[in-house]
């Protein structure tokens, strides 16, 4: 038996045994990267030298767009706003989602099923009709023009998916642990913060990533709610390069590259957690 397993491993570790996988994955990865390469190409090509073609490899290399972007007076301020809003959204999103997911996972209360269904249902709300009522609501609540209002909107938008995922993960944590702790006199809150949360790191990491991305990429609400350019977030500044009849592609792409880098870095850093965190419902089956 053991001989068979080693042979098995040997066959798999060699490149030859896996050539077909690479033969499939290489072109697929290229295909996946192609549009992204184009964004990079536009970013490093001065706008007036930009030409359509099928070649995604930059023919000229210039930092012109990047320097123009970074030297804009408000760039750093708007970057800071983005970091602030996304950071706050991440924190608020985690707190709201974890507590709610815990309730759904560990209590059998009247309204539980309806609540979970309601979360799913929110994903079906067409945003088209909600924009104007939301604006009026924010106005009445005095939250227009404030990063708090934006944070609140973003964090709640991210809740349904995060709760869905976290609840699945919490379900996989054996209840025996908690029961033992309760016998030792721990309160609910202690069980939640000392046992459940530390055991759910991967799922929390994914929640964080999601809440962060929701806030980081959004621009319609930010452009509608904020009345000062010093309060705009980075995606709003980015959209300002898209005009009615023409677009400054170079600056737009350079901005997109800058906006994407932190998200890519997060994905890279969290890729293991991402896979584990999304395991969700698989085990509870």
């Amino acid at each position: 038996m053991s001989g068979k397993v080693t042979e098995h491993i040997d066959r798999r570790t060699t490149w030859m045994g896996q050539w077909w996988r690479h033969a499939l994955l290489m072109p697929l990865s290229f295909l996946t990267l192609y549009p992204v390469l184009w964004v990079v190409k536009m970013a490093v090509t001065p706008s007036s030298a930009f030409e359509l073609s099928a070649n995604p490899i930059p023919t000229t290399l210039s930092a012109e767009n990047f320097t123009a972007l970074l030297s804009q007076g408000l760039f750093w301020r708007q970057l800071w706003n983005s970091i602030l809003v996304s950071g706050a959204t991440t924190v608020v999103g985690i707190v709201l989602s974890c507590t709610a997911a815990y309730a759904f996972s560990r209590f059998d209360f009247p309204g539980r099923k309806a609540g979970m269904n309601a979360l799913l249902v929110t994903q079906m709300f067409p945003g088209v009709i909600m924009a104007i009522p939301l604006y009026i609501l924010m106005d009445v609540a005095g939250l227009l023009n404030s990063l708090t209002g934006l944070t609140l909107c973003y964090a709640t938008t991210a809740i349904p998916f995060c709760v869905w995922m976290l609840k699945g993960y919490f379900d996989t944590i054996p209840r025996e642990l908690e029961e033992a702790a309760v016998l030792d006199g721990a309160s609910r809150w202690m069980v939640f913060t000392r046992i459940i949360l530390p055991l759910s790191k991967p799922a929390i990491a994914v929640t964080a990533l999601f809440s962060f991305m929701t806030a980081w990429n959004e621009f319609i609400l930010a452009a509608t709610f904020m009345s000062k350019e010093t309060a705009f977030t980075l995606p709003v500044a980015l959209q300002a390069f898209v005009g009615d009849r023409s677009t400054d592609w170079g600056l737009f792409a350079a901005g997109a590259v800058i906006v994407s880098v932190p998200v890519m870095a997060l994905f890279f850093a969290l890729q293991k957690q991402l896979v584990e965190g999304l395991t969700a419902g698989s085990v509870k089956g």
Partner: protein
């Protein structure tokens, strides 16, 4: 009583007393680049020399109109704003504007006649003109030292190849030809005038240019620039915004458009003007001072020299710094001979049908007469009168009755289940839930319910009238269209369902396939592939979707480039339903598979390996193992992801909007993008749009309930 009043005022966001200190006037605009620099410069100089202060805000053009439309009625708008003149009719009807207040030393006479005409609606002037914009002729001096004055001369440069590029699929750019052939988009009393012999002749001419190969068949802005910069075409019809796209080193000039059969081509004229918003409390003196700074001679000269705007101010045009610029002079001359875009509200609904007709004619799918007749019908159907007002009393009674029944059944159901005791025993749970619940209710549920209620109303000019279920009735009976017409709800529904199914199947199978490939724990480069394959998820989709649209470009796109290697003729992707649909699907698949891949990877890692190993030892083949062991074990994890994925795809507005934009003929539109069009491009029929959205919601609820029942899967 006083306190109550103040409280109410505070609640509704109006600050009761303005603070002391210098008066501040807010000014919104959507300029960027050099034009913005010029405005910023004028504002900075003004603020330095006046007690009165201007606070300027540049809003991205994509969010600009909706922002003005939501902010002004609530009293959150600016005092002044700059916008193109087309909105004057609709916005003055909807009480978003106050009549214009001209600077004391520059009355209406100081500005070009065309620009003043453009701003008149219902016997009043609604804005102070700043800049005039229209298309003109760009010519490459290396090929044509002197600009051609007739189309016949221009076409002589063709030599059987391409000679001219303009965005011929846009009715805005086609306007030059339309006017040249004597056509007009609207009749004098504001009815659509698309089905006219003049319009047909202009479209036939546009078609002939493309069919002869003098003009590319399908030409967007980026392609116009590429062709001109590569020297493939010596002539371009385009507006002043094209100046920034010309490659350095090309010696070019600008002249007025040539004539066809002795009649000059006359482009649409857009006048950018300064408006005074309704609800603005700025004093007349302050408004006049700001208007003087921006629209007066000194401001105008600065906008021309720094922002390179063609001016509406007549005296400023003669200023030596301005008059010496041959390009500005050409644009000014063209503007004086351009046709102001009608500012009537009816014009807003014309673009979509007219573009559609134009593109059908250009690709030879329809004769101009046929296409224009259809466009005329469509435009008229967008302009149909709202449904009759209905009496809300029966609805309120029904609502009351239903809520009674609902409450009754809830009480009935909870009886005997000890609900009170269970609630008491789970108070903790509600405490944990409360923060998220509160947030969801305020930010998501309330706006949704309010938005959904709008479906019972008809919106016109800022006023809502209760019409009962008429909107739903019109949609479901596809009132005004045949059931198989792309405009009909049922046609769009079929497309939406097909769109969702194809996407979800592709997402799931691609995600599953890749996850299986990447599953092997000893595989080389596993992490590398995994990161690469997640990339589409990380880059904002509003830019990658635009890249995909470029990849499907007929002449320069990568897709046709690759197909060309295999000997396939270039495909015009957006001119047929099947290929256009496929382009949308390809883009969305690219965006969506990483999520499914990661979910599947997670689920796979939780499946014990030994089950499969055991089956392998027992002699089960790879397919059998997958079919009978792996797949059933994956199902509980994949089902919720698939349901969620289909809900997301069903409402995936961005991709349709940015990639195919509904082409051809609105056929690839999905329900949610139709709803968007009704709300924003077809006379702001919010009620009708909301009814669409409510139907979308209903369909999704039904679908999920059904899927849960069939699969027994518990999404929760």
């Amino acid at each position: 009583m006083r306190h109550l009043l103040i409280l109410i005022l505070l609640l509704f966001g109006c600050s009761p007393a303005p603070g002391t200190g210098p008066e501040v006037v807010t000014l919104w605009h959507a300029y960027r680049g050099a034009e913005r620099d010029a405005i910023d410069g004028i504002v900075a100089d003004f603020n330095a020399s006046h007690a009165l202060q201007i606070e300027a805000l540049a809003v991205p053009s994509k969010a600009y109109r909706s922002r003005l439309m939501s902010a002004i009625p609530r009293g959150n708008g600016p005092d002044l704003f700059i916008n193109a003149h087309e909105v004057v009719g609709e916005w003055s009807n909807s009480h978003l504007l106050q009549p214009a207040l001209f600077p004391t030393d520059a009355g209406p006479d100081a500005f070009s006649a065309a620009s003043i005409d453009a701003l008149r609606f219902g016997d009043r002037l609604w804005g102070v003109p700043l800049a005039v914009k229209s298309a003109a002729l760009y010519y490459n001096k290396a090929v044509a030292p002197q600009p051609p004055t007739t189309m016949e001369q221009l076409l002589e440069y063709a030599d059987g190849g391409l000679v001219l590029a303009y965005e011929n699929g846009e009715f805005y750019h086609h306007g030059s030809l339309l006017h040249g052939f004597g056509g007009h988009p609207l009749t004098d009393d504001g009815r659509p005038a698309l089905a006219t012999p003049e319009a047909a002749a202009s479209m036939a001419y546009a078609r002939k240019l493309a069919a002869d190969g003098a003009v590319p068949g399908e030409c967007d802005g980026a392609m116009v620039a590429t062709l001109f910069n590569q020297g493939e075409v010596p002539f371009v019809f385009n507006g002043p915004w094209f100046l920034g796209e010309i490659k350095e080193g090309i010696d070019f000039g600008v002249a007025t458009l040539p004539s066809v059969d002795g009649r000059p081509l006359r482009p649409f004229l857009t006048v950018e003007a300064l408006y005074r918003a309704a609800n603005s409390e700025a004093s007349d003196a302050a408004v006049q001072a700001v208007a003087e700074a921006l629209a007066g001679e000194a401001g105008a000269v600065r906008r021309a020299t720094q922002g390179r705007q063609a001016l509406a101010h007549k005296a400023a045009r003669q200023h030596p710094d301005v008059a010496g610029d041959p390009i500005l002079a050409a644009f000014s001359a063209q503007a004086d001979d351009a046709v102001p875009m009608p500012n009537r509200p009816e014009m807003g609904v014309l673009w979509e049908p007219a573009n559609r007709a134009l593109r059908s004619v250009l690709r030879g799918a329809m004769s101009p007469d046929e296409a224009l007749l259809r466009a005329q019908r469509e435009a008229e159907s967008f302009l149909r009168p709202p449904p009759e007002p209905a009496n809300p009393t029966p609805f309120l009674a029904l609502l009351g009755f239903l809520s009674l029944v609902g409450a009754g059944s809830l009480v009935q159901r909870s009886r005997g289940q000890n609900v009170v005791a269970r609630v008491r025993g789970n108070l903790d749970a509600y405490a944990y839930l409360a923060p998220a619940f509160l947030g969801m209710v305020t930010v998501v549920f309330i706006p949704f319910v309010v938005g959904a209620c709008v479906s019972l109303f008809a919106h016109k000019d800022g006023d809502f009238t209760f019409v009962g279920l008429s909107n739903f009735w019109r949609i479901l009976t596809s009132d005004g269209y045949g059931v198989t017409d792309p405009m009909s709800f049922w046609f769009t529904l079929v497309v939406t369902v097909a769109w969702t199914m194809v996407n979800v199947v592709l997402h799931a199978s691609l995600g599953l396939g890749l996850a299986l490939l990447l599953r092997d724990p000893w595989m080389k480069l596993k992490g590398f592939y995994r990161v690469l394959l997640i990339v589409p998820w990380a880059v904002p989709n509003y830019i990658t979707a635009l890249i995909w649209r470029g990849m499907f470009n007929e002449q320069f796109g990568a897709i046709n480039g690759v197909l060309g290697v295999f000997g396939v003729e270039p495909i015009a992707w957006f001119s047929r339903f099947a290929t256009s649909f496929a382009a949308n699907v390809a883009t969305n698949t690219w965006l969506g598979f990483p999520f499914m891949m990661v979910v599947t990877l997670g689920a796979l890692s939780a499946i014990p390996r030994d089950l499969e190993e055991a089956a392998a030892v027992d002699g089960a083949g790879a397919w059998t193992r997958f079919r009978h062991i792996t797949l059933p074990l994956l199902k509980p994890a994949l089902m919720p992801a698939i349901i969620l994925g289909s809900v997301w795809t069903f409402n995936m507005f961005n991709i349709i909007y940015l990639v195919s934009a509904g082409e051809p003929d609105g056929g690839t539109e999905i329900l949610i993008s139709e709803a968007y069009k009704w709300a924003f491009t077809r006379q702001a029929q919010y009620g009708y749009a909301s009814a669409y959205a409510v139907l979308v919601f209903g369909i999704l609820v039904l679908y999920t309930a059904l899927t849960k029942r069939v699969t027994g899967g518990d999404v929760a």
